[in-house]
Amino acid sequence: MSEAVNTETINTALGALERALDRRLIAALEVCARCGICADSCHVYASDPKPAHVPAARAEQVRAVYRRHHDPLGRLFPWLVGAKDLTEVDLDALTETAFASCTLCRRCTINCPFGVDTALIMRAARSMLTAAGKAPEMLVMLADAAIARGENADEFREIYREIVAGLERDAQERLGDPTLRIPLDQEGADILYVGLSGAHTILPAAIIFHEAKASWTLSMFEASNYGLFLGDPTKAKAIARRIVDEALRLGVKEVVLTECGHAYTALRWEAPNWFGGEFPFKIRSIVEVLADYVREGRLDLDPSANTEPVTYHDSCNLARNGGLVDAPRIVLRAAVQNFVEMNPHGKENFCCGGGGGLVAVPEWFETRMRAGRRKAEQIRAAAAPVVATSCENCNLQLTDLNGYYDLGVKVMGLMELVVNALLAAKQRQALPLEEAA
């Protein structure tokens, strides 16, 4: 009986691998020459340099199975090409590798002479594991909860409306402007803003949109998409569908996502693949919108509100995999007095170690703290007391690293810094002319 269960689990995993095998994945599996040059590019290897942490070694766990089924020598002489039959023990090892040891940051990809997309291989591995019931329970639970919320949106609507009314009062108080509104279900608004669970992603956005005189409405749903972490396109699509349907229903011109790296990847880059084409609205990160507001002079910012040196941690999803390198810097240069770059930064920035869903799984705290050692060193070297970032997962990880490595920094979101600068500018305006000068 147990053997039958094992066989079924393994066949399910193999079936998921077969479905994932497209031309890109075949190329990624076939091309690696195992030169090992990717090793230092991985933050996990850089923090804990052992062979198992070399990206090529991680991908070998999937390649070995692929070769057993798709390589003539792998079928005849598996030992010769490192091919092997998949076992349940392999699946357990792969769970640790694909979910806990790789954050899908693609730093190895841009550093590989062949451009091997190890993240694509790890996502295929996550698909196999999710299909076989080996994915971390917490991620599955969070994905299912998000889908359930979408299916029962009407039940939450009134409660949410009350919560938002409370947030609106808080925002009015903070800005000192009773005309500030947090619109919900506003048909015909230009922007549908999608936050995360928690006021910290809604309050600053409300202040910024109000000050920029933007036409906006708040989404009923949160931007995060745990289906993406699971490598489960069905769940990922169901989670994304909530926002897509809402945007279509309200007839907005664009969906603006809060400071969240993986949400940006999910909705901006992946969702059109799940839905089979482009949407009739644009999808942007709040970071891009802020950069536009700064360029267009729609926000009056006083950088003296943020006097301490600020460094910026690029989220892998936004920068390396989304191209948003200049936008946050445009915002920071306008909102803070002293911006210092981390080295390396931009598309070469090191992952903080919290991506790929690691932050959501409590039992991986130690794993992600160890993996974040390289990032902690980078922060120390930057010698800036404030670390800004535009990703919720990065923010949580950096905050934990701050305590774990005793970095003595303050981790802040980009929107927080902008709101500080906005409020300072408003205070300056309120002062008598000579005092403001």
Binding site: A28, D40, P51, V81, P113, G115, D117, E278, I283
Partner: protein, 208 residues
């Protein structure tokens, strides 16, 4: 070169082409799932970048840090090109100018040195040893032996039989072993350029 060697070489080439054709068929039989999202940069410029400046040693941190390993790889592959050009020219060897003979011999020689160096590194360095399969070791050894024989044969013709035999073996091994990465290289870099070009990460295109 005798007719029988020519037949062996052409047979090996035919097997190689047939095997790579099989890989092409296998790859093209799989779905092509292009990104559907609105592009932020230029996929075309990304692909051009991926095959040009993106291959430069300064374009990647990994090659900046491991410049020697990168150069060893480049020299090895230049040597392989020289070895195969030499193998093709063997059919006309009596009429080849001595300068060309020396260029090929030298190219194959330094390529062989880089190949054997790479093999030693693969055996000595713990990460490389850990990720290597027997195929990795045998493939590098085979190609390095072919280049060594090519260098010797272009210098002293009595090595020619060894050169031709190893050349034929290498040709046959291409689609069967890890040497086929030379074929998938073009796919992988193309997809890399497309992916990052579209997203406005590479190719010098401003993000929208």
């Amino acid at each position: 070169m005798t007719t029988s060697w020519a037949a062996i070489l052409l047979g090996a080439l035919a097997l190689s082409v047939w095997g790579l054709g099989g890989h092409l068929r296998k790859t093209l039989a799989r779905p092509w799932r292009p990104e559907q999202a609105r592009q932020a940069g230029s996929p075309g410029r990304g692909v051009v970048y991926a095959f040009t400046w993106g291959m430069a040693p300064w374009a990647k941190e990994s090659t900046r840090v491991h410049l020697l390993a990168y150069l060893r790889g480049i020299v090895f592959h230049v040597g392989i090109a020289a070895g195969f050009i030499g193998l093709a020219l063997t059919l006309w060897s009596p009429s080849i100018p001595s300068a060309v003979r020396w260029i090929i011999a030298c190219g194959a020689f330094v390529g062989a040195l880089a190949g054997w160096g790479g093999l030693i590194a693969r055996l000595m360095e713990h990460n490389l040893r850990a990720v290597s399969t027997p195929d990795d070791l045998l493939s590098v050894a085979l190609v390095s032996a072919f280049l060594s024989a090519a260098a010797a044969a272009w210098w002293q013709p009595h090595w020619n039989a060894v050169h031709l035999a190893l050349g034929a073996a290498t040709l046959v091994a291409i689609p069967l072993t890890k040497i086929r990465h030379c074929f998938y290289f073009f796919f992988s870099r193309y997809f890399f350029g497309l992916f990052y070009g579209r997203r406005g990460v590479i190719g010098g295109v401003q993000h929208e």
